[in-house]
């Protein structure tokens, strides 16, 4: 049938979808139908309420046989929605699925020209005759399958990355878990308690951290960064930089022939090290040495040398003795691993809220941010869980929590989005103040309380019942009493319509969150996009929230947009499931839209090679001369090379020059060629 079709004159079937009234409400279907009958090569025209329904698809399948069609055109919605549906229908009817062409008369027509029926109908006619012109020249194409490596990588080992790695590994996939810090755990390990259950954050996270360390399918690589990413879905070659840690694990020591040596986490080195630096895990509120661990529960329990501050006095080396765990001459190492798919879980950081100068962060002693508060109220934190005023070490009695500190801000200084979890952790902070400081009075300055999750609104009710005062008004400014170092928080109580001036002992700013400084770098390495606010862009905001536009790369956690722990864990499990599918299937089908070199036309100039954003092109020697060659699996069919080639030697499958010219002719000349 198909072979027969190839040799004959094009015979195109046209199907017009009403989409209920979505299309029929603004386009004259009858007029469009009559018009279609006169388009060259059209041998069959039909219309239906919903072409995507089973009866609609049946029409196509039956007509292909009855009218011996060589091409099918459906005028309906966006191909992003139903192109796969109609391709399948064409295939069922015995036609190569790539001989189907869609004319978008909904998103690009009826929805935008709702009040111009004639204009919309005329535009639909143009779209249809262009689609028929292309369908007349479509060729049989066959997707290629490539094998998929049975390994995965997770970048970032906060709670999202940890969950994704555990899920991937537990489904039988060897998983590399990459973390830039010396320990895993991420932001969650810095938190004291979690809302709304008030679980101790470390207590619920450490079992998962230990599981990571023990899982036979997980290769944990801390203090490691992604250096280079090559390849495509199923076959990524990822080069990792193992940063010089200065300390050997027992395994690394054994590899060097030091039996029974390596770091056992005893901490003797830390005791003798003379260099003191602020500990970033404690938000700089506690000291660490030049050889350090962040906190007592680190995984892996291996010390790290900060070579930027180490003075190489060798005291640590001496005290380490026979374990010979410390090597102050260590250099960065590079390793390349092959993985089938990757999950990015690179997290977030706090917006530098000092940029909003009216709140005085970093100017007033007693204005702190929420992560600093977490460390101050945490029993394992720098004060042993005793909340104190930075200015004088006194216990604060009146504590203010400023919400939307940099969020919902369209000035260009702050962030336009809602950071989503600040309302809830500030409610939790208010509770903790009540719990830990007798007679304390928390004030919450808010615009809206967004308590959207399960048991969140009930938590809000509880905190209000405990006596927290809620002032609805965004804080306009904070002024510091220069003598007492108390703070005057000034805003309007918008419910009262009156300006308020509340004197407080301490103010906690619920800073907005933003992508980490490294996010752009990682994003570029993996070739994925970001939305206008800098967060990594999902494949589809509703229907593909864990995927990306790059096949084989998935997203988990806040790096895709602000979310709390339950949402992060849920997305991580979704991303892990999605990332495991191609691996378990064992091969992936690539759309056959790749470029092809017409070798007799290629002059071997090689100018296309630098144009290619996917490194898919190369010059190879053939019959004594150089010609371009496409690695089909890498090519995304973007057409950059095809449009650029000075000799017209690059043929873009499914978007070939004759096909595109035919469409232009159809539009300008009404279909005559």
């Amino acid at each position: 049938m198909v072979d027969e079709a190839k040799s004959q004159k094009p015979r195109v079937g046209v199907y017009i979808c009403h989409c209920g009234t979505n299309i029929a409400g603004s386009i004259d279907i009858k007029e469009l139908e009559e018009f279609s009958k006169g388009i060259p090569n059209v041998v069959r025209v039909d219309e239906y309420q919903y072409m995507c329904s089973t009866p609609g698809q049946k029409k196509i399948e039956e007509d292909i046989k009855e009218y011996n069609l060589t091409g099918v055109v459906v005028a309906a919605c966006s191909p992003r929605l139903h192109e796969p549906t109609f391709r399948t229908a064409s295939k069922e009817g015995g036609l190569n699925p790539f001989r189907f062409e869609m004319a978008n008369i909904r998103e690009q027509n009826s929805w935008v020209h709702m009040h111009d029926r004639q204009g919309a109908t005329d535009k639909a006619k143009d779209a249809l005759k262009m689609a028929v012109a292309k369908a007349s020249l479509l060729e049989d194409l066959y997707p290629k399958s490539v094998p998929v490596e049975h390994t995965a990588m997770v970048v970032g080992a906060g709670v999202g990355g940890i969950q994704a790695a555990l899920d991937l590994a537990s489904s039988g996939i060897k998983t590399y878990l990459i973390e830039k810090s010396p320990t895993i755990g991420g932001r969650m390990s810095q938190l004291d308690k979690t809302f709304p259950t008030l679980d101790c954050s470390q207590c619920i996270l450490t079992p998962k951290m230990v599981d990571i360390d023990r899982h036979p399918n997980i290769e944990l690589m801390t203090y490691t960064e992604v250096e280079k990413v090559e390849g495509y879905i199923g076959n990524f070659d990822i080069t990792l930089r193992k940063k010089a840690r200065g300390v050997l694990t027992p395994a690394e020591a054994e590899a060097r022939g030091i039996v029974g040596g390596g770091c056992n986490g005893c901490g003797d080195c830390e005791g003798v090290c003379p260099v003191i630096k602020p500990n970033p895990f404690e938000m700089g509120m506690a000291p660490r040495k030049a050889i350090y661990i962040y906190h007592a529960q680190v995984v892996p329990l291996i010390y790290t040398v900060d070579f930027d501050s180490c003075v190489k006095c060798n005291l640590c080396v001496d005290i380490c003795g026979d374990k010979k765990a410390i090597d102050l001459e260590m250099q960065d190492e590079f390793v390349t691993v092959k993985v089938g798919t990757a999950v990015l879980a690179v997290g977030y950081e706090l917006f530098p809220v000092e940029k909003k100068t009216e709140w005085g962060y970093k100017r007033y002693d007693n204005v702190i941010n929420a992560l600093e508060f977490e460390r101050l109220i945490c029993a394992s934190g720098p004060t042993g869980g005793k909340v104190i005023r930075p200015s004088d070490g006194e216990t604060p009695k009146r504590v203010g929590f400023v919400l939307c500190a940099g969020s919902r801000d369209n000035t260009g200084i702050g962030k336009p989005y809602c950071s989503r979890f600040c309302c809830m952790y500030s409610l939790k902070h208010a509770h903790q103040i009540h719990e830990k400081i007798p007679g304390a009075q928390p004030y919450i300055f808010y615009m809206d309380i967004r308590s959207f999750g399960k048991m969140y609104e009930e938590f809000y009710y509880r905190i209000q019942d405990e006596g927290a005062k809620f002032i609805r008004g965004r804080v306009a400014k904070i002024e510091e009493d220069p003598i007492t170092k108390n703070l005057h928080v000034i805003t309007e109580d918008t419910l009262l319509g009156q300006p308020v001036d509340i004197e407080l002992d301490m103010v906690v700013l619920a800073s907005a969150v933003q992508p980490t400084a490294e996010t752009t770098h990682v994003r570029n390495l993996f070739g994925i996009s970001c939305s206008g606010d800098g967060w990594l862009l999902e494949g589809h905001p509703k229907l593909n929230p864990c995927g990306t536009t790059t096949a084989g790369v998935f997203l988990a956690g806040v790096c895709q947009g602000p979310k709390d722990i339950p949402d992060t864990v849920a997305q991580a499990e979704g991303a892990a499931a999605a990332a495991s599918i191609p691996i378990h299937v064992g091969e992936v089908e690539l759309e056959p839209y790749f470029a092809m070199c017409i070798e007799e036309k290629c002059a071997g100039c090689g100018m296309c090679i630098d144009q290619c954003p996917y490194s898919a092109l190369a010059l190879v020697e053939k019959d004594g001369r150089e010609v371009m060659q496409v690695t089909e699996a890498k090519c995304k069919g973007c057409g950059t090379c095809g449009g650029f080639c000075p000799g017209g030697a690059i043929w873009m499958q499914h978007f070939s020059t004759p096909q595109i010219v035919a469409q232009i002719d159809a539009f300008l000349l009404g279909g005559e060629q």
Binding site: L496, Q498, P499, V500, E503
Partner: protein, 193 residues
């Protein structure tokens, strides 16, 4: 905050002083007292406005019951008790029926009126009503127009109340005397003459 500047003229200082709400200038026990008297929970109010939306007085006056609840939460005793709007509630209880946080705003208003009365802040017409109740057992005693209407409808001229059974009026007077309500009303009304 240390005050560095001021006006030499004290009256000017008062007149030009800012009108910020400051917790230290508010009443510490106002909310507590209101909750004790009203036996409801204004501190749980999230200021949705269902009460004001339900209120038959609100569209005809500047009375906003939501605002009174807010004043209770913030301890703004003077603002609440001296606001004449406090007396515009008809106690229809529509707000109490609909409050999503299950607060009884009507009872909050009643509690505030109670506290206001203790401070002798009360409109004269309410005191007149007290005197009518003392005298007749009714805030609005029966009158000839009413009696004629009742007869037209086939009812007795006097309803089944103290209007028909004046013997019970001394009992009502006893209750009012127990709380000193009548004496207090007479006293305040006399002061205003």
């Amino acid at each position: 905050m240390a005050k560095a500047k001021g006006y030499s003229d004290e009256t000017l200082s008062v007149r030009l002083a800012d009108r910020y709400y400051r917790p230290e200038e508010s009443s510490d026990d106002f909310l507590e007292n209101v909750e004790k008297i009203s036996m409801t929970i204004p501190h749980m109010c999230y200021q949705c406005g269902t009460c004001t939306g339900s209120c038959p007085s609100a569209p005809r006056s500047s009375y906003r019951i939501r605002k009174f609840v807010r004043r209770a939460v913030l301890g703004l005793e003077n603002d609440a008790l001296t606001d004449p709007d406090l007396w515009l509630c008809t106690t229809c209880y529509s707000c109490t029926d609909r409050c999503p946080r299950d607060i009884a705003p009507t009872d909050v208003i009643m509690a505030m009126r109670n506290l206001a009365f203790k401070r002798e802040i009360v409109p004269r017409n309410f005191l007149n009503t007290v005197q009518f109740i003392y005298k007749t057992g009714h805030g609005v005693p029966n009158n000839d127009v009413n009696r004629a209407a009742r007869v037209r409808l086939g009812l007795e001229a006097e309803p089944e109340t103290t209007a028909k059974y004046p013997d019970f009026i001394p009992g009502i007077q006893k209750i009012l005397d127990h709380y000193g309500l009548k004496d207090k009303a007479d006293e305040i009304l006399a002061e205003g003459q």
